[in-house]
Symmetry: C2
Subunit: 451 residues, 2 copies
């Protein structure tokens, strides 16, 4: 390592990441389902499961929206009824918080190796179902704590792809002398914010954990800035700044969105799922939209076990997830969308202004504000990067994450399922699980580097 | 009415309630299931449902706790996948908040008529499935609001008896001249607190809504009191008072309780439910513990419709729900219990220190702290009253609600699934649904009158 304690400058970081890439040989190969070791389609239901009964399963899901219009669909869904741990250790060096990040391979990552949290482990992982090595630094996050809790909250994962999956997002500040493994490195929030602007580098688990940083910990860098946009962001992180909705009114709006319509889901068999077909290599929709299920074989030497095979969910095309932001009374507000996703535990969570895979819609059905986002000039795009979702479950699931500043053409009535909310209000909601879904949290983490 | 605006003194209140009882003739009669108009046992599953497909259903539920010990049970459960409205209108007369309460009959109430919220309506009610009269004052709580939101939150109902049932608990302050119907009456919080000490008078829906009053609205009556208990309660409502756990540590503890074990539930048919039997008159457990399902016919002339029949859930015996409270550093703390109930949406919610029906346990399995509660001397019982649960679904479901001050014998280690929490921390959690279950909320409402 370039410095003691694995703290690195930008150049050193790139060298370190290269060294990690070179130190480990990875190989990913698509295979038919029949070549997935330990996986099989169960007799009666046709669900795809592991012989151990653990890890995860691919089942069928029927979703009915009781909205009087008979809205209903079927889809495969990943079922994993256990809470994983996503934990980042934080430690101050010379007073400045550093975060212990890990160079970690996941088979579904477009570039395989990305920066993950200190600990990223399903319960199956750390209960050692696959008889692999111990999970490093897990002790900090389980049992008797050795540190101060900065954040600890159950947050949902992708509601379109997972059935009621939640992970425990933890940030823990320690004063210990933490023993450092060569795959781990301490980074400042500034460094992470810079890396977040690179495509496919900071993995999804890191992004969701970092979204839970309290507003006060996200350092106000733009203090005294002449840029009104930066000043509006800083005001937006201030609990005393004026917001368009008071917090009681905001909570009341969320409750009204959550109360109707009723969303009724039923887990059904994967076999014969209406609208989907199955071949030896894939389970896909008849119109080939949305996503498909495929199989891969993995060989790696720095994982808990050195080779395995598994199903992955592969989305069709690159997605878009975007916040529209706008300053009201000197305070930046974000336009969030109350979203129904079939796999949510509760009816709705708040999501990006726009979230979709544009190729999956006929033009007439395009989501609201999509055209507005796509037409935005460069000067209004305050953040842009392509990030991929959880590479342990999703194959090349890339989305373009955007923060777009509204211009004066965005007037007119905002539909009732959208609302304007400040960064402080979002941070306040994030102390509790179930309010902000994963793509919204990623955008919040992206905004940590603004202002 | 004795005064203008239906505001009444205590004597007037009793006269008014008597007049309401006399004005309406009610008749409740137990009947076999075959005499329930519109209800039938469905073919394949044996579930008990209404021919309209609405109101509610009685189904079977299988609950598995994945705790390594194979804990599992079956039970009937009430399924009602819609969010009802429990709304109380608040209005200031001469500056003092008054709450608009309704004298309302429910067939399961031991004394039939109790005080309910201004609006107590399932979605089926207000969408007028049963073609009854309009629900009075509903407009205040649906659609365009005519008032200021004091509280608006989705709270769970009984997790042992309902499957994932939640109601919207709303308190709305209005400045309107509210037209008054003779079944309604404005009461101050002091008056309600006094009535809460009478047995079976303030109904469950009123109690759960009143639990959501912000701490600041619960008037500090004991200001300057010499009684250290009263002073400790007042300190407990102060956001700045010292608590044994900081709020981040408290939230982290809740997350840890919620993360393990996994609770897996499956809705199964009522027919052939293991451990239960069915006769023409009841569905009950083979050991006749816990509860049974029965049928009643109702005749009333002040309800939306004047007669109907329905199933009700009848618990076996009178329950106990108790908080143990204790002062630490001059601040009262409440000992809450992290409870798994099969019908919760999430794994756990916080409940009373003790909640059970004593007759339903062998002595060796008695809940922790039950003996401690039962042995408490009169001077340590700070609140005591018998209240019944939701009379629209539960028949004579009475529980003794107790607030017991700990003495010095309560030392020793508190098990990990219990924690001490202040009244302010509870009020803070109550702004969000899913943290405090219904019996805990009732006890919080009972404590509104202390200190």
């Amino acid at each position: 390592m370039a410095t003691s304690s694995n703290r690195v400058g930008q150049k050193d970081f790139d060298d370190w990441l290269d060294s990690r890439r070179q130190a480990h040989a990875f190989e990913i190969r698509r295979v038919p389902f029949s070549e997935l070791d330990g996986w099989h389609f169960e007799g009666r239901t046709g669900n795809l499961a592991h012989r151990s009964g653990r890890f995860f399963r691919v089942e069928g899901l029927r979703v009915r929206i009781l909205d009087g219009q008979g809205t209903q669909w079927h889809q495969p869904v990943i079922v994993q009824p256990e809470v994983g741990i996503l934990g980042i250790l934080m430690k101050r060096f010379n007073g400045e918080p550093h975060f212990l990040m890990q160079a970690k391979m996941e088979p579904g990552n477009p570039n395989l190796l990305q920066l993950s949290p200190t600990v990223q482990a399903t319960r199956s992982n750390y209960m050692r179902v696959h008889k692999g090595a111990d999970v490093r630094y897990l002790d900090y996050f389980r049992g008797a704590r050795r540190g101060k809790v900065i954040a600890d909250v159950l947050q949902s994962e992708h509601g379109w792809w997972f059935y009621r999956k939640r992970n425990r997002n933890i940030i823990l500040e320690t004063e210990d002398d933490v023993p450092e493994h060569e795959d781990f490195c301490w980074l400042t929030l500034d460094q992470i914010n810079e890396l977040m602007r690179r495509d496919n580098l900071v993995n999804m688990d890191s992004r969701t954990v970092l979204a839970n940083l309290p507003a006060a910990t996200v350092r106000p860098r733009g203090s005294g800035s002449a840029d009104p946009f930066i000043r509006a962001i800083m005001a937006s992180r201030d609990p005393l700044a004026g917001s368009l909705s008071t917090t009681p009114a905001l909570l009341s709006w969320i409750v009204s969105q959550r109360s109707e319509p009723v969303v009724e889901t039923a887990r059904v068999g994967l076999r014969g799922l209406p609208g989907w077909y199955q071949t030896p290599d894939e389970i896909a929709r008849e119109d080939r939209r949305h996503f498909r299920i495929v199989g891969v074989k993995v060989r790696a030497d720095n994982r808990e076990v050195t080779s395995w095979s598994q199903p992955l969910l592969e989305p069709m095309g690159v997605g878009i997830a975007a916040f529209i932001v706008k300053e009201f009374g000197g305070v930046l507000h974000v336009l969030v969308h109350s979203k129904i996703e079939g796999g949510f535990l509760d009816t709705i969570e708040l999501g990006p202004t726009v979230q979709c895979r544009p190729g999956n819609y006929d033009e007439a059905d395009a989501p609201l504000f999509l055209d507005y986002i796509l037409a935005a000039g460069k000067s209004r795009i305050r953040f842009e990067a392509v990030h991929s979702e959880e590479g342990g479950r999703f194959l090349h699931a890339q989305s373009r994450y955007l923060v777009v500043e509204a211009d004066d053409t965005l007037t007119g009535k905002i539909p009732d399922e959208y609302t304007w909310i400040t960064l402080w209000q979002m941070a306040d909601l994030l102390r509790h699980g179930g309010y902000l879904q994963v793509q919204a949290r990623v955008l919040i983490a992206c905004m940590n580097g603004l202002g």
